[in-house]
Symmetry: C2
Subunit: 367 residues, 2 copies
DNA sequence: CTGAAAGCGCTTACAG
DNA sequence: CTGAAAGCGCTTACAG
């Protein structure tokens, strides 16, 4: 029973007599043997680890995706590394990529921002890679080991919901826009255009609540703003806080809808109406893509695009002081009948706390 | 110029002629040479990677610590892996530990919960390890490569602050208590005892806002509760939300103080008074401990214990309907003069948004 | 100061 | 089906 045979058993190669396989397996468990990853890697064994290249580890989408990747990779017996890429010169990005490749052999990159996109671009050919990206324009994503969330639809359905409540138009406070695709902005704008509503100027913010707060202060006295869609929940919370501070009530004076459905969204004051995006699942999908790149795909094709769901809570409602046009449109605004966290069923958080509601297509604004 | 010489240059061993060192260094940068980590590890080279064993990657303390570890490890040229340990049988924990050791050679464990504590216990001797732990009782922590936050002081200063506002006593909604030390609870209780205030029964919750919400609903009608200290900000936010839902105003009807100072705390409604605990710095300290375990310590001794700061915002104030004893104590309650996020300086978040205030020791309640 | 040697623990062809 | 051989890229003693 030589070492080579052990290797064969471990790597599940064919051509091992069942009885010797048994013997080896038995010895392995008896002795607590565990193969040395470094030696395997050196000898050219199969890749058993990923490192995730990302510009951030804390913001909702990133952290949740990381969690999903960790779960999936652990389930597959992979080790997972994390390496933060900072924005920098092309050569510093290349350096970061090299250092990420080296211990792992396979890469996942979260390409939501310039550092991430630069890192994805800098990966030398031949390195097994999967990526979480923003919605690719056109057919750019087909055939690539990429996954994304259909956030254009997120913005669209949130905008449509706000219009259906009777708002004359919907303002949009965006997360930073880097790519040419700007999917969320496009979803928002096209929803307005389809409804014949005026398209206000897009407001660019950052990722954190401080930007929402800052913009909120600036807009607090602007009564034209009755409905605000925010590019993520953090922006929405910062914005709501600024409104409250300025004495404007949410949703009575202004409706606010976020995007993401962060863990705190149901417990904000008021509970945040938002669009749920399941980044954790996205992370798992991305790892599945990587597995297929490595030639270890499961039977079924791994999907690339993940849908979203509008979650109606209490931060949006019909406009209070109706303008001329909103007035006539007010008739069928759906009642907001979801009063917040369900007391009795909090353990079953996902199901109990929120009411999910697929798109609401009642356009209430008339051209 | 043989390979051995290159190795010597890379590992900064002495005894290399300056001119050859130059030549090697030059060739390295010209050729973009990068040593293979697997081979180094195999050949018994120095450890250049850590894996972090943790039961969670998303909750504030964990995620922030992970971020700090990542930064510090990257700065030191280390690769960082993350492996989630679930609670399980001793043998499954041991297995997780083995799998974490193998690709890295060095370990950091976040031992805030049973899985983390079990993992720390299961590490075989000889494996370089540092840990983030709860405050050790007595002298248990001295000499060990452990770091912790002085959260007993967090709870104490928050309790003292609430008492100084004129509250007769302070209730405490705890995060889960696993260890015998229960530092936060002890800090709270001793602050009450020192002030001669009655000690209400401790309420045990979980980590997430849903527990705060649940307890809040249960206590909403209990007017004895005028001041609530929560074991973390998530609990505090859930609790406040339940109060508001039940028609009780914060801080007018009940004061709430959290612990942590999460990124959203300044933007909650109302902005949360809380005790800042810098887990990111704690993560960096922990990595420094690991470096010293590996014999690569910096000149200065790495500290083990990290202090905290009370951050006064708007969720706590003097009691409104004063009870007999609080009445007489009401005199010197400090005014709450921090109105929330500072509009003009939001980029400088840490400095601008909050007002930090070291312990406030005016005991206002008399025995 | 700098080569030549041996070995870290595995894997992949190659013989039997 | 299962050994013996060679090598992955480095490092650490050992000679010079």
């Amino acid at each position: 029973m030589s070492y080579q045979t052990v290797s064969r058993v471990i790597n599940e190669s064919a051509n091992v007599k069942p009885s010797t396989r048994e013997a080896v397996l038995d010895a392995i468990s008896r002795l607590g043997f565990r193969p040395n990853r470094a030696a395997r890697a050196l000898a050219g064994g199969p890749v058993q680890s990923v490192t995730v290249l990302t510009a951030d580890t804390r913001r909702h989408g990133y952290a949740a995706a990381l969690e999903g990747i960790e779960e999936a990779s652990r389930a597959a017996g992979f080790a997972m590394g994390v390496r933060v890429v900072e924005s920098g010169t092309p050569s510093s990005v290349r350096d970061a990529v090299e250092r990420a490749i080296e211990p792992a052999g396979a890469l996942i990159v979260i390409a939501y921002d310039p550092p991430g996109i630069a890192a994805l671009d800098a990966i030398p050919p031949g390195v097994p890679t999967a990526a979480i990206v923003e919605t690719p324009s056109g057919n750019d994503g087909v055939g690539k080991p990429w996954v994304w969330i259909d956030d254009g639809k997120s913005a669209r359905s949130a905008t449509e919901y706000l219009l259906s409540l009777g708002h004359q138009t919907v303002h949009y406070l965006s997360i930073p826009i880097w790519t040419a695709t700007r999917t969320r902005a496009v979803g928002w704008q096209s929803a307005l255009e389809d409804a014949g509503a005026p398209v206000p100027e897009l407001i660019q913010g950052g990722w954190g609540p401080e930007f929402g707060y800052e913009i909120g202060e600036r807009l607090a006295r602007d009564t034209d703003v009755t409905a605000m869609l925010c590019g993520n929940d953090d922006l929405a919370m910062g914005f709501i806080r600024a409104m409250n501070k300025a004495g404007r009530a949410v949703p009575d004076d202004v409706s606010v809808v976020g995007i993401d459905d962060t863990p705190l969204a149901p417990y904000y004051n008021p509970p945040l109406t938002t669009v749920r995006q399941d980044f954790q699942l996205l992370g798992r999908m991305c790892f599945a893509k990587l597995l297929s790149v490595l030639g270890r795909e499961t039977d079924n094709e791994v999907p690339s695009c993940l849908g979203t769901d509008l979650v109606i809570r209490e931060s949006a409602g019909p406009p209070k002081r109706s303008s001329r046009r909103a007035q006539s449109a007010r008739r069928s605004a759906p009642a907001n009948d979801v009063p917040g966290p369900d007391p009795g069923r909090h353990h079953n958080e996902k199901e109990a706390i929120t009411t999910t509601r697929k798109e609401n297509r009642n356009k209430t604004t008339t051209p």
